[in-house]
Structure formats: C-alpha cells, structure tokens
Symmetry: D2
Subunit: 283 residues, 4 copies
Amino acid sequence: MNHAIILISCPDHRGITAAVTGFVYAHNGNIIHADQHIDNQSNTFFMRIEWALEGFDIPESEIKSAFAPIAERFNMVWNLYFDRGKKNIAVFVSRPLHCLQDILLRHGQGEISGTLRLIISNHEDARPLAERAGIPFYFLPITSENKADQETQELKLLADADINLIVLARYHQILSQNFVEKYPNRIINIHHSFLPAFQGRNPYEQAFRQGVKIIGATSHFVVEELDAGPIIEQDTVRVSHRDTIADFKRKGRDLEKTVLSRSLRWALENKILSYENKTVIFD
Amino acid sequence: MNHAIILISCPDHRGITAAVTGFVYAHNGNIIHADQHIDNQSNTFFMRIEWALEGFDIPESEIKSAFAPIAERFNMVWNLYFDRGKKNIAVFVSRPLHCLQDILLRHGQGEISGTLRLIISNHEDARPLAERAGIPFYFLPITSENKADQETQELKLLADADINLIVLARYHQILSQNFVEKYPNRIINIHHSFLPAFQGRNPYEQAFRQGVKIIGATSHFVVEELDAGPIIEQDTVRVSHRDTIADFKRKGRDLEKTVLSRSLRWALENKILSYENKTVIFD
Amino acid sequence: MNHAIILISCPDHRGITAAVTGFVYAHNGNIIHADQHIDNQSNTFFMRIEWALEGFDIPESEIKSAFAPIAERFNMVWNLYFDRGKKNIAVFVSRPLHCLQDILLRHGQGEISGTLRLIISNHEDARPLAERAGIPFYFLPITSENKADQETQELKLLADADINLIVLARYHQILSQNFVEKYPNRIINIHHSFLPAFQGRNPYEQAFRQGVKIIGATSHFVVEELDAGPIIEQDTVRVSHRDTIADFKRKGRDLEKTVLSRSLRWALENKILSYENKTVIFD
Amino acid sequence: MNHAIILISCPDHRGITAAVTGFVYAHNGNIIHADQHIDNQSNTFFMRIEWALEGFDIPESEIKSAFAPIAERFNMVWNLYFDRGKKNIAVFVSRPLHCLQDILLRHGQGEISGTLRLIISNHEDARPLAERAGIPFYFLPITSENKADQETQELKLLADADINLIVLARYHQILSQNFVEKYPNRIINIHHSFLPAFQGRNPYEQAFRQGVKIIGATSHFVVEELDAGPIIEQDTVRVSHRDTIADFKRKGRDLEKTVLSRSLRWALENKILSYENKTVIFD
C-alpha cells in the first residue's frame, strides 16, 4: 500500500496545519503520521505529513499540482514523496569497510528500505563485498591530478543510476563544491567524532591525546565546508584510561555503524528536514 | 499568555486530525503543538493539541461545549486543560528525602510549573524541609489499625486543597483501592528498580543479589496492584562488581530524581495519555 | 609474545597480593595487568594477574606446579591460562542470524581473538554464512524424541574440536543438565531482555505489552535453570510509544550484538570470574 | 578505621607491584584496593594502593620515610594520603547555584566525605544557602582593577582554612596563573559542554546554534589555559530539535551536577592521578 509524504517548512502562520490536514481529508486520505514543529527563534513552521493513498481521490501524478495552491498561500518550501522503498542509494567507501558491511547486513534484514544501486571506492578493498552482494562496484582512485575527471565520472554514474541518496560510509576523499551542490541534503557522511570536536583527520587519535572520557560519532549532510554540514544524528560511548587508540577505534566502529544506519533509515523514510545549519528529525 | 490543551484518544478514523485542527483554526486559534499517534494493534488514535488563546473567538468557559460535537462524532475520550501552571500538587514522602528535596529545588528554579500545596508523610523527617519551603506539612503515621482513618484524613486534605496531582516521592505505604480509584492517572509513584524487575521491597538489595550490571528507576501511575500501573518513564545506570549496595543506592538516588522529575513535568504540562496499561508521552 | 594469566578466588587474607605479585617478580616476569577485588559481604578475594613470559624463568609447562604451593596456602580456586588467542569456539545458532553475522564480522576484523571451530544449528539457515566463512557447519535438528541423541552428537563434536567456549548466539533450544554441567562457566547465552525481567519466550513481545520505556539485552553463563545463570553483561536502549514490536526487535538486535560481543571478548581474554551467581569482570 | 593510600606514577619496570604490595604485607597491612595501569605509549606505570592501618606496624608519621627507599628505587612521583574524610574543601560559585545546592545535598546525605570549610563568591546570591548550611561565606566581587587584590584575599582565606581541594561550582571568573600554580591538580572546574567542543562563554548557546543532537558536561583540573586542563569526567544527554536553549540548560544542569559530584568524590577518595594532560581514575 503506497503512502504519500509531504515535508514542509515555511514562516509560521495560523491555519497551516488545518489547511494541510484538511486537504488530505477532503480528498479522502487517511493520515498515518502528522508531526509539526515550530522554531520560535526564527518563527519557522515545519511539518511532515504521511497518508495512505488507498481511497485518496487524487491520482499520484496530480497531487503535486493539487497541493500547490496551499503551498503558495503559506510560502512553503516543500517536497512530495511516495512510498519508502523507492530511493536509489549509492555508497562511497574507502578502506575501512565496517560501515558498508553494516549497511549490507541491514539491507539484507529488511531494515533499510532503499535500493543499493552502486558502490564507488577509491580503493579495491570493497570489491569482494560488493560482488558478493551483487551490487555494481566502481574503482575510481583519486589523485590531485585526476580528481575533477573522476568526479565527472562519478556524477555520470550517479545520474545514470538515478541516485537519490549518497552515503559516505567512511569515504576519505573531500568532494568538490561542484559535486556537493548537485546533491544538496542528499549526501550523508559519517564522521568518527562527536562534532564539532575533532574535525578533520584522525579524530580518534585527537580524542586520545585530549584525554576525553567519552567518544562519539556524528552523521551529517555534506556541505562544502569539511565536517560542517547539518548534523543528523550523534551518539557517544564511554572510554577510560585503560582504552588504547585501538580500543577507541573498536568502540567507535559500533557507534559509527549505528549512527549512520539511523540516519540512513530516516533519510529513506523522508523524516529529515534541513534548515539553516540544523535538522529536524520527525521520528 | 494562556494556552488550551486537549488530550484525545478514540478509535482511528479518517478526518480526526482535520476536524480538530480545523476547529482551532476556524475560531482563530494559533496551534503551538499538535502531536498524534496511532496504535496499530488496537487501532486507537491519540492526539495532543495545544493552541494559544490570544485571539481565539470562543471564551474559555465555552470551549468545552463547543468542542463536544466533534468529540461525540469520533467517540473521543478527551480532556481540556488550560495553562501549564495551574495544577495543585501534593507530595507524599516517607523517610528518604532526596526526591522531595529534588522537587523543591526544581520548583525553586522554575523547572516545575505547578503549585506545591501540601506535603504528607508517615514520618516527621520531612517537616523541616517543608517548613523552610513554606509548604503545609501533615504528619499522618500509618498502622494497620488506623490506615482507613488516616486515608480519610488524607483525602479530606487533598480535596480541601483542590489537588490535581499526587506525587509519591518515595512514600512507602500502599494506598488502598478506594484511595487509588479517586485519583485515576493522577498519582505518580517512583519505584527504585527497572520494572517489572524487582517489584516490592528492597529492590536495590534484590538487584545486588541478582548480580545485574545495570540498575534502573521507574515512574508509573498508581493502580491498585502494587508497582504495576502504566509506566511513564524509566532510566538506567551501569553498575559493576565494585559497587556495593550503598553504591547502588547512591547511583539509584540520582536516577530516581531525574525519572520522577521528568514525569512530574510531563504531567504538569498535560503530555501524558494513559491507555490500557501503557502511556503515550507527547514530548 | 606469550602472556600468562591467573584467575583467583579465595577467602580474603593478608598477603595474597604480595605473594602472587612476588611470585611473578621472583621469576623475572613483567606484570602487564593486576586487578583485584574484595567482596566484603562474603569476604572473598578475587584477582586477575597477567604477565609477559619473555624472560620468565619457569617454563610454561611448569608454572602450574610452581604456583600450586601459593594457591594451597590461601585456599585458592584458580586457573592458569596462556595467550589470548588459543581458545576454540563453537557457535550454536537457530534462525535469527544477526549475532552470528556480527561474530563473523568482528572475527574478520581481528576484534575476537579465538578460533571459530564449528557452527551447530537446529536449522539450515546459517549454513551459507558458515560455508562462506570456511567454518564447519552441523545441522542437528532437535525434537523431543531425538534431543538426547543429538546432544550426544554435539558433545562429541565439541570434544573432537577441543572446544573451550560455547556461544549460544540466539540458539532457541534448552540444553540438558548433563550438557550444561560438562561446560561450567563456558557456555555464554544472549537473552533478548533485561534479565531478570522477561525471561523465557518472546521477551520483546512481553516488553511491548508491559509498556516499558527501555528495553535491554543480557548475556550470561548458562546454568540448568533457564535464563538464570550469572550475568556477564547488559545494555539498554530507549523505546517510546512510537516503537512497534518490529522496532523493539530492530533496536534489540543492535543491543544483542554488542552485549554478546563484549562478553565473548572478555571470555577470550580470561577476564571473567564467576562466583555464587554473579560475575566479576576485570576489564 | 583509618586507611593509607599511596598514588604512584613512574617509568615502568619489573617488580614495582611486587615491591609495593610486599612493603604493605611485610609490615602487616591489609590491602583493601590495589589498582595499576600501564600507559604503553609513554611506558609509564600508575598505581593506587589502599590498605587498612589496623595492625600495620609502622606509625602513620613514619610511613612516608619508610616507603621512600622504594619510591627512589623506581623513580616514583608519589603521594601518601590518610583516610577519606580529612580533606578541607572550598567552593567557589557565581550566580547559578544548582551545583552548590547539589554539593550541599550530597554532603548532607553522606555521599561526600570532606569538610566544606568555606564558600567564596563574586555575587551575594549564594549567601543564604551558605548560612543555612552553617558554612562561612565570603563575598569577593571581581573587577579588572581589584582582581589581584581579591585573589590575594582568597589565597589567604584558603591558607587559613588549610584547604586541600577547591571546587569551581559554576564560578565564572578566570583564576590567574599565580593562583592556579598554588593548587596544581587541586582545583576542579565544571564546564557546561562536552570539551573540547564549545570552550569559553555560553556553551549551551553555542551548542544550540550548532544543532548538535547531544550535549555534555566536563569536569577538569584547572590549568592556566582556559577550559584546557586534564579532563576528569564527562557525561552526555540527548537533545532534539524540540529542545530550546532553556531546555538545553535544564538538561545540562542535571549533567553538571552528576559530573561534578563524581569528580569531587573521586578527588576526596584520592582516586585521580593526573599526568601529561590526562587523568587516570582508579574507580
């Protein structure tokens, strides 16, 4: 049974909720979820509404135009989505494979509803995993000389596969501004620290030197500035003086996997709204 | 600025959200929060809607009757509340005073919005705290002989002070069925274990003997059966073989305080909906 | 570089630590870890000492007899172990495969130091995983009629493979008293609840009906009584009214994996001491 | 019953543990706790040993000189302490009083074993709390002009009261280098962020603007550089887009209290060893 989902942000006004829910009801839709949030600082209204299309009297192809007048009336920035399962996912990965393995396992267990269309890496390490899972694998090594060319190649692969969501599952190359701008709020990165602490390279080593008692992992949408995009999810785990850097990495791998997988699930279910440099998670 | 809040549960149908939000909008109310939840197992719809009354064109005293037709149409069990600050609270406490101290501190810091009207205890220990805070204190010791009489006395005190919410802040007497039935979903107890494990007496000692690696605290609405009412909130903390029973109690006190204070805040803000033997928390 | 490890429990007396560390030093051993714990309730002393054998002047084969007089003097229950890597592991699994997959992944990443010698299941589901990993797989379905025979077969497989540690990675058969007694404190089970709450079958369904706000997982040594052996590790995760039983299971899988893998690592590193119905974890 | 505690750090060598525990045993001491840790990166050995003095055949006043030869042999940096209860504590506080209130409550409940000798503040707000608790209160407002003079006054008060431990319980003045150097590893500060993120002023506001999903609190020893001393303890709590800055502060207060109180307890029990810019916590 197909569902429709609309994500909305707009200046707060009286009547938005009534108008949106009234629209669904007037056309015989059954609301499954309706969440809203008002950011009082910026006076911004956010909403996620999901309804069952069974019995809904507007055809899927015409919902967008039918809803447009309401959106205009309230100056909405909005998107309409159908069904959870339709997103096409590309995974970028470098040498640490635990996040990719975790995504593959969860995909196999039905936790992740999208379609894994391709895996891109600047190393060959992930190839056997990709082949065993039957997912096309592209080895595109990056040097300072070939970076622009390889990105052109990557963008073509993404376009050809109709990719909606890119997951950087420990991909250790910085994407160019040009690349990032093509997929706004569609590229999720996992960073192995509790951002904004320990940006950049070797965050576990940084954390170890600092003598912190807790380490973290952070998923965020990718923007041009490194490790600075809107945070989607974070989690932490306790460490002690007994933990070596190897222990930090071992504990951190578990964090990275869970933080990335939660973000991926929310993205696939259209539960993330990004605004300014933050996210609203309708979970 | 006053707010109105309606808490609703009813069988799920198309159009409930539209009807409720449409009602608020039609009378020029500004929705501040609107949360809903559908329990698929029982096909039950739950909703909490909060709107600002500034500009609302129905007087407070007539909102109840104005909303009644919508409630009837959908077979709603519902309640209308005004403003966060108006609840009158009674605290019952025995000898451990940390939960009461915590409530008094949070009240002093403005975290807890109700009015502490009276403190009842079967011991004298809490009297100095009550007097310093300027809250009437009643010493009502309980024996098997006088229990019925003392409860009669307590019920009179509660009625005279127009109490809406009773907090058992480590009160170690069992309330009678008669008492409990007078305040359905209005008596919050803190139990010092992760329920349903370790019901009844000495839960920390039980947990210690069991050798658990994590202890917990649970707040719940009081029903006639001991430690069996709908759970409102729980939290846990790690223990190890190095922790003695005294350490369990020390760590547990912090848990009890935070778990109870969260529940109290939710109750005062009308964010808890109880159904079957569970709660929905609209936070 | 090989290490020796001694785990000790005995009645507390003056001089135990001095005697044990003095023994290692007198024979030119370099202590890597020395942890001790005194249980004041039972006046029991526990110790784990690990030292590097490089330069130690007693051959490995004679350490046991050399230490025996100290052990006798203090009435120690004790065990000597060498090296982390030598334990032979058997995994028992039924149909949910996530714990087995997790063990295989961690083994591949070097997190788990033992040797996976064989996988036994009462279903065929795990066979492809076992074969891909190159680990012998035995399909031994259990009925009330054949249970004794199948256990005989299992015990023979375990003996032939010189198994030191058995991991029940969601194995849904109850082992007989005879079986359990052959591997005291050597069989680790993962139970998908926060024990002692929700013992037995369908703990997530039990937790869901109870309306708990936190779910857990527990690893323990197997004793004859179901889900009642000494607890090794527990962990918890928050749930809300929005979580379905499927969400409980999804969140729970992550808990089960981390709780079981921690226990397995501790067991392989000889960090667990079991006494009465509890454990001391020297981590 | 009095205990002696020695905290040790020195280059790692064979025989340290045997020498230290042998010393205690040779003089008929009963070891209560013995913990050690080796930092492999710097090859440094750390130890905390605590033994009961009942029956110990060296008088308290001579233990220091009796142990000195062992300390010299291994190039130890070391300290000898007696009994938990003897430390004299000074609390510095500015306007937010929750940490001071928490310390007073825990002190009243016997959780904190030292003696609260004096409270110093640059505001008058804390005076009623201090007076009610019967603790001398000194109002020493700080301006850029009088800072040096006021610190001279503070140092005199601390010296006169024989203070061993200074707790900055949300004290919003920066101590001078001269002041800090007089109490190395004896001044504990609570910072209301997950350091090293959000140093300096208004960390909750910084965290809110950053859109983090988890906030934290950090206790550390004070060094000259602001918010940069060795971290003693940290803890974190989840926030969401629904939380306002006021919610961050409310949740943060609970974190600050627990993090600071744990650190204070460890300091009073001589469980913290500071080295380089880190701490070892023997808990």
